[in-house]
Assembly symmetry: C2
Homo-oligomer: 322 residues x 2
């Protein structure tokens, strides 16, 4: 629903005092005079849209923190503070306690402090977190800094969250053990906080994969005024998906699935060794999946063909290049 926010931004002045980067990236960058820029982001999870009302409140609390810390990670920021606004359709202490445990497990992991909040009664359970971090102004990762000839990288494995959703919805089935892997990724994604901090000053552009690999690559290409070419075969995914990666459902999960919260980033080819060292330090798979070149949009190379994608029409509407 980007168009609604576009209208809201109609009169938006991006050049206000102290605002280095406003609406449009994963977070805003604000110079408050303390040497490091503030990075601020907000995300809402709504029952029925982002989670089922029957879901374990632990994972709802966990995920509401994860999606916001993921946005800070995509800016290269160190998370520091969150505010929590929660709308509750019920008063259930056991539910709240379990929700709190999930929330705090991730806040405590990163030493993040809850500094404010608002508890409201309403008909639908809804959670809005605002997360605040900081970054050296020169090192902040942005969507609009990808440079032609950069390598395109992703962290971790891609498509697992979307496969988890398909399992939850009953449209895909795997062994019980494998299904647990996918559902864990869907319900308790790990925001790549340490990776974002280490990439600050090394990567040129970054985004977290929340809308889908191709859609998020498209955001980077569009904001940076470049073209991103992705080799489908190189995209890392779960071992049980590898042999079936050309199955249309699985392919859609890999290219279009949104709930991975991995980072996609671009970096100069010279940075490959440093990036390899970061991968070893963090014990995290970092994989080159493509290149940046002049042009526009996203192209997926698959089986000898180059397919273009129209972001407006969605990830699954590919067309052969003319």
């Amino acid at each position: 629903m980007a168009s609604e926010f576009d209208i809201i931004q109609r009169y938006f002045d991006n050049h206000a005092d102290g605002v280095r980067l406003g609406v449009g990236d994963d977070g805003a960058l604000i110079d408050v005079g303390g040497g490091r820029d503030l990075v601020i982001t907000t995300d809402t999870l709504v029952s029925g849209t982002h989670f089922l009302s029957s879901e374990d409140p632990y994972s709802i609390g966990f995920k509401s923190v994860a999606v916001n810390l993921s946005d800070l990670a995509a800016m290269g920021a160190t998370p520091q503070y969150v505010l929590l606004a929660i709308t509750l359709p019920f008063s259930d202490e056991a539910w709240i306690e379990r929700f709190s445990e999930g929330l705090y497990s991730l806040l405590n992991r990163y030493g993040v402090t809850l500094v404010g909040g608002d508890t409201t009664q309403g008909d639908v359970l809804s959670i809005t977190l605002t997360a605040i971090g900081s970054v050296n102004p020169d090192d902040a990762l942005r969507r609009d800094q990808a440079i032609s000839d950069d390598d395109v990288w992703v962290s971790g494995l891609i498509g697992l969250g979307a496969v988890g959703l398909s399992i939850q919805e009953g449209t895909l089935r795997f062994s019980k053990k494998d299904e647990e892997d996918f559902l864990l990724r869907l319900h308790k994604p790990n925001p790549r906080v340490e990776l974002g901090e280490k990439l600050a000053g090394i990567a040129n552009a970054a985004i977290d994969i929340s809308d889908g690999l191709v859609a998020d690559a498209w955001h980077v290409a569009d904001e940076s005024d470049v073209q991103i070419v992705i080799d489908f075969e190189t995209i890392p995914t779960h071992r049980v998906l590898n042999s079936s990666r050309r199955d249309q459902n699985i392919k859609n999960c890999i290219l279009g699935g949104g709930d991975d919260y991995e980072l996609l980033f671009t970096a100069n080819t010279d940075a490959a060794e440093q990036i390899g060292n970061i991968a070893r330090e963090l014990d995290l798979t970092l994989t080159r999946i493509g290149k940046v070149r002049s042009g526009s949009g996203v192209i997926v190379r698959d089986d000898g063909e180059e397919l273009t994608v129209s972001f407006q029409r969605g990830f699954d509407h590919f067309a052969k290049r003319k």
Copy 2:
């Protein structure tokens, strides 16, 4: 629903680096090293709880900013940035445009910049704003700094928002012209931003009147470990309510109505002249309504009696002092 938030805060560490004041005041105070403290606050408005779905979207946008700027004003802060998270059950450009106009009319009045947001689809219209301002650390107004023998002041007129709500619900009626006054206050409250800025460094404690005059005075008394005594006769209200201020409905609106977004503050008696000057500068009524003394809770003096109030049981459960 304070108890839910209490549980969420169970493991809350108020002493994290840089956090001067965390959960519990109108906003958090954070030292980010730039000389001025950041003040951060978040508030949610939900359809059916805080406004009717049929309400003019202009006033919904206006009020969602007003309630957050009011919290910043109660801290003595200058507002600077907001983030908007909105959940929409529909896609209606005309609605969004009118909502934006209301939102921006108040943002522009105070030179506040929208720096981020999130637009979500969901079943119930819900708006969460996070507002960020700044204040000199020594001047920040807090709930916990009221001192025995302080005067207790309020800005503007009290009870109008609650009377507006009663008119909207059909339980009170006035002339058409007067009803417009009350409904305007309910739908488009004026946050006391300039007053908050001028009181910073002069007042000892402050809060905005969002829960009701007595309930909010109780917050100050409780946090400051003092007693607040209010003279009911001195509380300023709309001229048409004056003759009927002892009518129980009207009295409840004045003592317990929550939607005024005026400031209640305490200050040393010596500051009365400065406060008088501020009132003239801003062309805003500032009225002494009571005193701070040692003890606890809130006492309302009315018609020769001293009535105590239990905040837990609500504003309208008064009892004669023993």
